[in-house]
């Protein structure tokens, strides 16, 4: 898998990218709070937030197509769950409110994650005294997601290469074995990482 899959634009340069991570995170939080907390915000709040987000997107130099793709990924899910809200008195306005709120929040988060490298967000977490175990876990997770994804792909290809004709076992068994192997390799890798960390003085 491509290494820069999700936050591929988090390291480009733009006026937005240059802002400190803490500011961006706080700003995103405020945006989401304004959008989500009031039960029936007047339209101008939504419009204001949307306008602000659009301006930031433009300033961030992230391709709009990318935003749309990420958005389209989750809209169906949002629409489906929001559709359930229709089955009650006042359902339609509620439905609309839900869709607008969640879409605006979604865009905010996509913007944040693509203008801030993940490790800077982690640093913010450390500063607000999130337990160190947690942050270390997140850092290690982020570091090795791509490594494990590559390993998974290699395992798939290796198995596929040795499968002639229709597989005897089903696809689910095939995939589950890969997942099982991945787990074991991950634990073994964790041991090696622990050795490397200890070798450099970590306790």
């Amino acid at each position: 898998m491509r290494h820069d899959y999700w936050d591929r634009y988090s390291r480009i340069d733009s006026p937005v990218h240059r802002q400190p991570a803490a500011i961006k995170a706080a700003f995103a939080l405020v945006m989401i709070l304004i959008t989500v907390i009031p039960p029936h915000p007047p339209i101008f709040i939504f419009a204001g937030v949307a306008a602000l987000l659009l301006a930031l997107i433009a300033a961030s130099r992230i391709p709009v197509l990318f935003f749309l793709k990420r958005l389209l990924f989750f809209e169906p899910f949002i629409l489906t769950v929001a559709a359930l809200a229709l089955f009650q008195p006042g359902g339609f306005p509620k439905f609309l409110t839900l869709v607008v709120k969640s879409t605006l929040s979604l865009v905010t988060v996509i913007l944040l994650s693509n203008t801030t490298p993940f490790h800077e967000l982690l640093r913010v977490l450390r500063r607000v005294h999130v337990p160190s175990v947690f942050v270390t876990m997140m850092a290690l997770m982020y570091r090795y997601i791509f490594v494990l994804a590559d390993e998974t792909q290699r395992m798939r290809r290796a198995r596929q290469s040795r499968t002639f004709g229709k597989r005897r076992e089903g696809t689910w068994v095939f995939l589950s074995r890969i997942v099982g192997q991945l787990f074991l390799r991950s634990t073994e890798r964790a041991e090696r990482i622990y050795a490397a960390m200890s070798a450099r003085g970590w306790k």
């Binding site: 820069d4 390291r11 993940f118 570091r143 090696r192 990482i193 490397a196 450099r200 003085g201």
Partner: protein, 248 residues
């Protein structure tokens, strides 16, 4: 004082496989030792004993001394500063989100101020010719670059001994050349476990042959490497560089 002293070191894995038998060895300050032998000889296992990663249950009686300090649990923090161990797979060793943070990992354990840490990191990255790589993330680097970042991470702690496990594995010829040039410039006692016999011929003054957990031969690198009978006996061979006369 000897850099590394090993007396009657033995080690057996949980499944009863004996990896090291009665190893006794002394390495002087500034020496450059190539540790060679077939797969399964115990080279990696041996290296892991130099900074106390093995044995996992640290015993009270030491079999290894680093600059006179016994490798036992209470001494491990300072030993690990003194011995920089480069593992086989850089992927496992580069565990921080950015190059800077990874190289800074070691120095930060010393309780230094951020300014001092930054200085050490820049110095180390300069030594491995990776200036400007501070903000890069590890998974975007080539294997050679990953290798060098790992090395920088060790150098930032200013170890007096460098133990390297298969440093040229997976490197393309250019990467190997760069690494060799780099290793030549680093002043430290070097112990290099490797299959790359050319590397040993070019970089090491002494070669130690390990086979089945014991030391089979120990002497000047070129002498050992040129001894075809000995090489073949232990699953090795005479490196090309010694077969023909090279202008090097």
């Amino acid at each position: 004082m000897l850099a590394v002293e090993v007396k009657n070191l033995g080690f057996r894995y949980e499944d009863r496989h004996v990896a090291l038998r009665d190893i006794t060895l002394a390495i002087g300050e500034g020496e450059s030792v190539g540790l060679i032998g077939p797969n399964g000889a115990g080279k990696s296992t041996f290296l892991l004993h130099l900074n106390g990663i093995l044995p996992e249950d640290a015993k009270s009686e030491a079999a290894v001394w680093i600059h006179g300090v016994p490798v036992i649990k209470p001494n491990l923090p300072r030993i690990r500063r003194d011995v920089g161990l480069l593992f086989q797979d850089p992927e496992d060793q580069l565990f921080c989100p950015t190059v800077f943070e990874d190289v800074a990992f070691g120095p930060r354990q010393f309780g230094l101020g951020e300014k001092d840490v930054e200085g050490l990191v820049r110095e180390a990255l300069a030594k491995v010719d990776l200036q400007g790589f501070e903000r890069r993330s590890p998974h975007h680097l080539s294997s050679g670059e990953k290798q060098r970042v790992c090395l920088a991470g060790l150098l930032a702690c200013r170890p007096r001994i460098l133990a390297l496990d298969e440093p040229t594995r997976g490197l393309d010829p250019r990467g190997k050349r760069l690494l060799k040039t780099l290793l030549r410039t680093i002043e430290a006692t070097k112990i290099i476990a490797t299959h790359d016999l050319e590397l040993v011929a070019e970089l090491c003054t002494r070669a130690v042959v390990m086979d089945e957990g014991t030391i089979a031969a120990d002497g000047p690198a070129l002498t050992i490497l040129a001894d075809e009978v000995l090489m073949l006996k232990h699953g090795l061979e005479k490196p090309h560089i010694l077969r023909h006369s090279h202008p090097h």
